[in-house]
Amino acid sequence: MEVKVENLSKRWENFSLCDVNLRIKDGEYFIILGPTGAGKTLLLELIAGFHKPDSGRILIDGVDVTDLPPERRGIGYVPQDYMLFPHMTVYENVEFGLRMRAMPKNERERIVTEILEFMGLTHLRDRLPMTLSGGEMQKTAIARALVLRPKLLLLDEPLSALDANTQRLMRDELKRLHEELKVTVIHVTHNQVEAYVLADRLAVMRNGRIIQVGNPEEVFRRPKDTFIARFVGFENLFNARIIESRNGIAEFDLGGVRIEAVTDRTGECIVGIRPDDIIVSRQPLRSSMRNTLKGRISDFIDMGSLISLIVNVKSVTFVALITKRSFLEMGLKRGLDVYLSFKASAVHII
């Protein structure tokens, strides 16, 4: 199912969705990524039909559905916090859509049993939602949405209420569902990892506008502006001045620190380096990496299996991400001198 959003605008309370244009291809896993308050949920709810846009159109498989009520759009919808019907069992929740279609009881029984099995929920069929774990609730909500075999599935922050472990499992589950059912998915999230792992393509939203659309590699490696760069994890962003440019390699000055990057740009710009693109070592590395800087660890943040190192190179502060194991093996601590190495191609110019 192909979805086209054309010049969609909507004022909603104190918020505006401005002139949104999107084209989601048939069978695509499309992610709408943005911070809280960007307008992602409103856009999703407009596609679902819960609100009427002030202007613009929504086309599904070429048919204008802008004025159709949600019950006639044939779209599966999983809202944030799942919204399972608390007075119905898992079975009754999943069965709901079929009941609304007045399907005969034995046919309903067959389809619900099948989908409960597909989602691994058979053992929970008689349980009420309040007795389920977060992951089980999420699976039930997806099963309920899939029971009518929609060609388009809308997911609103489906993993945000889950713990980190369950999030990982459910990410895999969503990937499996998408691959097996060949359903078009529009998934709204503020989580970059989710977007990177799941998306075929993604759109970044800010203040009610789409500001970049592309595949994860494009958006995460070549963000269009500093907002996107910061949002997708470019923790090292510096104002820079190009000193010299030769054969596609330019030398930059970041206020006393010189680095090289692959670019034809000239003049003032902003350079960004992802913390996971920086290699940290106790000795200078002999490698093809064109940038090696000596700095001093000023601080570190323990994030469980990863450590975020804050390293001062002269007056410039870099953030590098390493595993806890490497951190312990190298015996790193505050005040220690280290070398930061990164490729010229890892430096993104905005």
């Binding site: 019950e71 944030q80 019907f85 007075h87 119905m88 009754e92 609304m100 279609r101 309920r144």
Partner: protein, 266 residues
């Protein structure tokens, strides 16, 4: 924790406990005192047809008032809970007005509109519906003073149901009405039932508005007032006790129903 409040030995908590206890005594003592004052004479009071008729009339008219309020008040409560429209805040703020105005004043206001001299009263009278000294009058007065309880309870109950549940139901093929019937109504049912109970109880106890519009057929409060005026306090006690006991029994029965677990409504 709740169970250890007295063990806290906080002067504030102890003072609150004592003041609360005094409040409870004030509320319960007159009721208990009335009920235990004349247990033997309650039976003989109940044997009088006028007593039985008045009690029946109160319960019956209050039931009709509750059903009318349900039919018109629930849709209003749903609209108030779910939608924004011009003047909503004024309507929302004034819903409780019938509770606030003195009830004999409410009766007079109804008389001015539905009485035989008012245009609307004349029109309805021509259709065979008169409100003076009729069951219609009793029900009208009861509905006016008790409807806000139902509307407010139902509105709060609807507000407590996340509108996203209705959205999900609609994405699954339910129309607005079916989403309401299958999801919102069952989930708000307890609040609505509480509203029905409060409306019904308030209607039963209504005196001021009823007596202005309809002295007959006699409801229990009107009958009790007449017994008190004509026969004195001693004669009024058994009727009072009966009314209290019946109200408590029905209140407990409906509360028991209201706290049962809910099943889907199909």
């Amino acid at each position: 924790m709740g169970e250890a409040w007295i063990a806290e030995k906080s002067p504030f908590i102890i003072a609150s406990g004592i003041l609360g206890l005094l409040m409870l005594i004030f509320l319960y003592l007159p009721i208990i005192n009335t009920v235990i004052a004349s247990p033997d004479r309650m039976i003989s009071a109940l044997m009088r047809p006028e007593t039985r008729d008045a009690i029946f009339m109160s319960f019956y008219a209050a039931l009709l008032a509750t059903l009318i309020t349900f039919a018109f008040g629930i849709p209003l409560a749903y609209i108030l809970a779910r939608f924004s429209f011009p003047g909503k805040s004024i309507i929302d703020a004034s819903i409780d007005l019938p509770i606030l105005i003195p009830h004999d004043a409410a009766g007079i206001a109804l008389l001015l509109l539905f009485g035989p001299k008012a245009p609307l009263g004349r029109l309805l009278s021509g259709m065979g519906i008169s409100f003076i000294d009729t069951l219609f009058g009793v029900v009208l007065a009861m509905t006016f003073v008790s409807a806000p309880f139902m509307i407010r309870s139902a509105e709060d109950a609807f507000k407590a149901v996340n509108p996203q549940m209705e959205n999900v139901a609609r994405s699954l093929g339910a129309s607005r009405f079916r989403a309401f019937m299958h999801v919102t109504f069952p989930l708000a049912f307890r609040g609505i039932l509480t509203g029905c109970l409060l409306t019904w109880a308030r209607a039963i106890s209504e005196f001021g508005a009823v007596i202005i519009l309809a002295n007959i057929p006699k409801t229990a409060p009107v009958y009790l007032y007449e017994v008190f005026i004509n026969e004195g306090l001693t004669a009024a006690i058994p009727v009072t006790s009966l009314l209290i006991i019946m109200a408590v029994l029905i209140f407990m029965a409906v509360k028991a129903i209201a706290t049962r677990p809910l099943k889907p409504v199909y």
